[in-house]
Amino acid sequence: MHMELSQQDLLSLYETMVLIRRSEERLSRLFADGEVPGFLHLSIGQEAVPVGICAALQAVDTVASTHRGHGHALAKGVDLRGFFAEILGREEGLCRGRGGSIHVADLRVGMLGANGIVGGGLPLALGSALAHQVRRTGGVAVAFFGDGAMAEGVLHECLNLASLWKLPLIFACENNGWSEFSPLERQFAAQLGALGHAFGIPAVQVDGSDVEAVRAAATRIIPLARRGDGPQILECKTFRWRGHYEGDPQKYRDAGDLADARSRDPLVVSGARLEATGIPAERMRTLERAVETRIEDAVEAARLGREPDYAAAAADVYTQAAAGAHG
């Protein structure tokens, strides 16, 4: 179906998925211990989507993310220490402790931010794609959004405008079947593909638990957007293992649905594939341990981090001290 990846490439995808999985598992424990302020939305079970897509991106490319954005951030290569420090609310955080999990951003690597507004990333990505087009950067923009976001009117506006302007924009839907506590079938009456079709935007559906499949699809369609063919839709069917947020008891979800979700573990899928390539089990364990070490290092650094600087925050409402008073 798609071209074979080298063992090395596959391993690298696997490694990033492990990084996301272990980071979020670590965050879950930190959250339970009261070390993470605010909400925490984990993407465990969905790792193949950001990893597969970001593997097909270049440094110049940009991504706009969602409230469930850890995977997008890590796959796009944000600084790991800055990532943990942000979520723990430290001065050393990517956003100096002002944003938290739901606003993790690292503009240096083209990660335009997680977003607290469902659908909020769509027009941002569209604007970013416009910048790529006008400035001829050769880049594309990716808008990640969930199945729940499909109900927001802004999706429609963005499909239309992206199509009219032939923008280098990838609509990357992470369809995990849930909007918070409500299942997709009570949230959205259309198929994204049909919708794209109406706007003349090609759409591909892919198994979002299979990182190779996601990467293959992304690798096929992103160059189309890049060369000026206009926007592309990539819908990834995926599974949310955890609650909507940490602490969500998921009473609305029956055991069958949860079991279904866990039956397709992207790590297991890729792990098996790797095993089949004859990779030594030891090499896998080494890789996993190396990832865990990096994470522990980042967590420790974050814990030792400073309280965010309030005066600096107050001075950062505008880019430079404005004349006059604000109140």
Partner: protein, 349 residues
């Protein structure tokens, strides 16, 4: 009808004045209103089967069925706009916008349609709808889940805005809002959902636009609403230890607001502090300060002082958020500044 309770029957009083959480008071107000009036319907994101993101609408789907209690997709503009159309069509919709930050997506329906229809159509119709929405920080939810935007709505002729500070008011004001023929923005401070307060079996009604004197005093007036009322009351208690009696007014309604009660208090205390969680600049306090500074110019012994959030998006980290949002200490400092104010103090620009 309110039962007057003989104070010498404490056991009965207990029974009739049960402790209820703020969130549950809202739940009961919704249930009672739906029971009393078949035209009251509820819709919003996750309000039906899941019972609401803050469990405020729990049980209502089971009680009133899927026709009257509905989960919507994530479509705030249409939730609000549909409420306007439903209200014009003879229903009394109560809709929820999950966080006040998301009213940004529903402003057209509220401001251009709901607020204006009665006036703009020459009084032909009314728009009896309620938008419930939680505002405020304190949960480290960050810049896009913590805003207090009620000043926007107060600036729009045609909308009413209420912000209850306790379970009894939450109940009574929600009933009043649902009964009101005009669109009401009903603002719930998230940190209040779990606080407890007394709620009578047959609660006393509260009129929209009427403030409540939460504590009497003659030395200074503190006007507050929502979560800031508790902070004002704590401040007043601390001041009382020093022999200073602050009067605390719980505004309850922002639009219309109870100018008379505030002015009467200021006529007595000659000092006014306005406290709210919203950003101070261009906030609700500005209108109250401007109006009282005008109408009570001769009575004021010190300038009206305002206490609100610092001028920044509500930051995420605990220490940042705590410092940004106003608290007891800020209200206390303002009261002290007011009391210490010297008539010939001259603050240079």
């Amino acid at each position: 009808m309110r039962l007057r309770l003989p104070m010498y029957i404490p056991r009965l009083r207990q029974a009739l004045m049960a402790e209820t959480r703020y969130g549950m008071a809202i739940n009961r107000a919704l249930a009672d209103a739906m029971q009393a009036d078949a035209s009251v319907v509820l819709f919003g994101e996750d309000v039906a089967a899941p019972g609401g993101p803050f469990a405020v609408t729990r049980g209502l789907l089971a009680k009133f069925g899927p026709e009257r209690v509905r989960d919507t997709p994530i479509s705030e503009a249409t939730i609000a706009g549909a409420a306007v159309g439903a209200a014009l069509g003879g229903l009394k919709p109560v809709v929820e916008i999950m966080f006040m930050d998301f009213v940004t997506l529903a402003m057209d329906a509220l401001v251009n349609q709901a607020a204006k229809a009665h006036f703009m159509f020459g009084g032909q119709c009314s728009v009896p709808m309620v938008v419930r929405t939680p505002h405020g920080g304190g949960l480290n939810s960050g810049p896009q889940h913590s805003q207090c935007l009620e000043a926007w709505f107060a600036h729009v002729p045609g909308l009413k805005v209420v912000v209850p500070s306790n379970p009894a008011d939450a109940y009574a004001l929600l009933r009043a809002a649902i009964a009101d023929p005009d669109p009401v923005v009903f603002v719930e401070n998230k940190t209040l959902y779990s606080i407890k307060g007394e709620l009578a079996d047959v609660p006393q009604p509260v009129a929209i636009g009427s403030a409540r004197i939460a504590r009497s005093g003659g030395d200074a007036t503190i006007v507050a609403y929502g979560a800031s009322v508790a902070a004002a009351l704590k401040t007043a208690a601390a001041l009382a230890a020093d022999g200073i009696e602050a009067e605390v007014i719980d505004l309850r309604s922002i639009q219309p607001w109870d100018e008379r009660t505030v002015l009467e208090s200021v006529a007595k205390t000659r000092r006014l502090i306005v406290a709210h969680e919203a950003v101070t600049a261009f906030g609700v306090g500005a209108e109250i300060a401007a109006r009282v500074s005008e109408l009570a110019f001769a009575e004021l012994a010190a300038p009206v002082l305002r206490v609100g959030a610092d001028f920044m998006p509500v930051p995420f980290a605990r220490s940042l958020e705590r410092e940004c949002l106003p608290g007891e200490a800020d209200i206390m400092a303002a009261v002290r500044r007011s009391l210490d104010w010297k008539p010939n103090a001259r603050i240079k620009p």
